[in-house]
Symmetry: C2
Subunit: 256 residues, 2 copies
């Protein structure tokens, strides 16, 4: 059974995951980050020791590695522990860990995390993959302490999930940002868009997105579309996004 | 005071607006649509008569015209009533109505409407514009019966609001649809993305979108981005959207 956890990384995901582990009675015994300020800040929140040296990791039941993808392999190579090691990355195959450890897996919570915003972990899908049934069972027990939505997801599936999350979260947020900045330029408040943003998200909780689609692109309403493109005349990037997404909506709606 | 309303149009917006008017004690005395089936269906819901001929419109205090932008002028030209006439379109200037009527205005509820999904009107921003203070006052009283968020918005502002709504609602929904279809192709459930979609929307209720941004585009994490582009190799349209939005996020985040 997993009780003592060492957390490698102190970014957005590590921070929120660390808090959730602690709130659910798990024991985060140590935090590592290359950056002392980050390690210290998270260790303060979790009330545990920290280190900036991978040689000084504490013994534990699980080493949870949540660092940037580009740094992952460098970090893995230096972990001297003989314990179960998991990563939390959407697009990295589990097999990478087999080069360095005997027991390993993936622990991928599918959510957007910011350090300064706490999230309710209880509904977040936690996608698990493990090197053996025993490791999977241990990770499952752990994940179920945090969330009621624990899913076995293989590396190939996880990669697609991560890509879909980029569209439906990161790219969506960028569209919010474009809306915000357009309104700001006119002295209008972003508050005006908030009920629309909420309803747009809420709608697809019960309808398929393809059926929830509205707007001028559905029927390629050229009168409106041309007015919008006029407004975007001095914004080439926004204009390209407008044209591309409009075409894509039209095609999708008219070939369904 | 506005009590008797004739509703011109029976589309998504007209349907939801008609329902909201009725639920709030207003009297929809007649529905018009060129298409008999649509007129009949909405008249049935609103328990009022319908017509498919603009010559047969009933006397009323307000004629609410909610038809497709392309059809608007043709319809306006044929309305024989000497009453206040308003349209509900985001991108059409109020002044168009001055060619046909003495008292006129715009009544624009900023929301996404589908016939089959009821919405709570009470928080929807209703954007008003009117040909005179008297007409504005009447429209304001009416709008405040439906919503606590009634806003004076001029045509130029409304045009920008509508464009921002296209990005933050119509385009956002299309990104949901891309996510849904990616998952479907892998046999994965769209349910996995729902907590993420909700949190992404919820996040910007309290944070500026530019500060809520996460994902590989923020730091142009090429390892992940290239993996994603590989997955999109046989999807040129999705790939173009990916590249364009990724670049746009990177620029926005690194010039703020």
């Amino acid at each position: 059974m997993i009780q003592k956890i060492v957390l490698i990384g102190a970014g957005n995901l590590a921070t929120q995951l660390g808090k959730a582990l602690r709130e659910n009675g798990l024991d985060v015994v140590q935090v590592y980050s290359r950056t002392e300020a980050s390690a210290k800040a998270l260790a303060f929140v979790l009330e545990c020791p920290y280190t900036t040296s991978l040689d000084e990791l504490e013994p534990c039941d699980l080493c949870l590695v949540s660092v940037k993808d580009d740094a992952l392999e460098t970090v893995l190579r230096q972990i001297p522990l003989e314990t179960t090691v998991v990563h939390t990355a959407g697009s990295i195959p589990m097999e990478l860990l087999s080069n360095y450890f005997k027991n390993f897996g993936v622990f991928y919570p599918l959510q957007t995390f910011s350090k300064q915003r706490d999230v309710d972990f209880s509904t977040i899908p936690i996608c698990l993959e493990a090197s053996s049934d025993e490791v999977f069972a241990d990770l499952q027990v752990l994940a179920q302490k945090l969330s009621s939505s624990v899913q076995p997801i293989y590396s190939e599936e996880r990669r697609v999930l991560h890509l879909a999350a980029v569209y439906t979260c990161n790219f969506v947020n960028h569209l919010y940002q474009i809306g915000d900045s357009m309104l700001e330029e006119k002295g209008l408040s972003f508050d005006l868009l908030k009920p629309l943003i909420q309803e747009t998200a809420q709608k697809v909780m019960g309808m398929k997105p393809i059926d929830a689609q509205t707007g001028p692109a559905v029927r390629m309403d050229e009168t409106i579309i041309n007015k919008h493109l006029d407004l975007l005349a001095d914004q080439p990037e926004r204009k390209k996004i407008y044209q591309l997404v409009t075409e894509s909506i039209y095609k999708t709606q008219n070939t369904k």
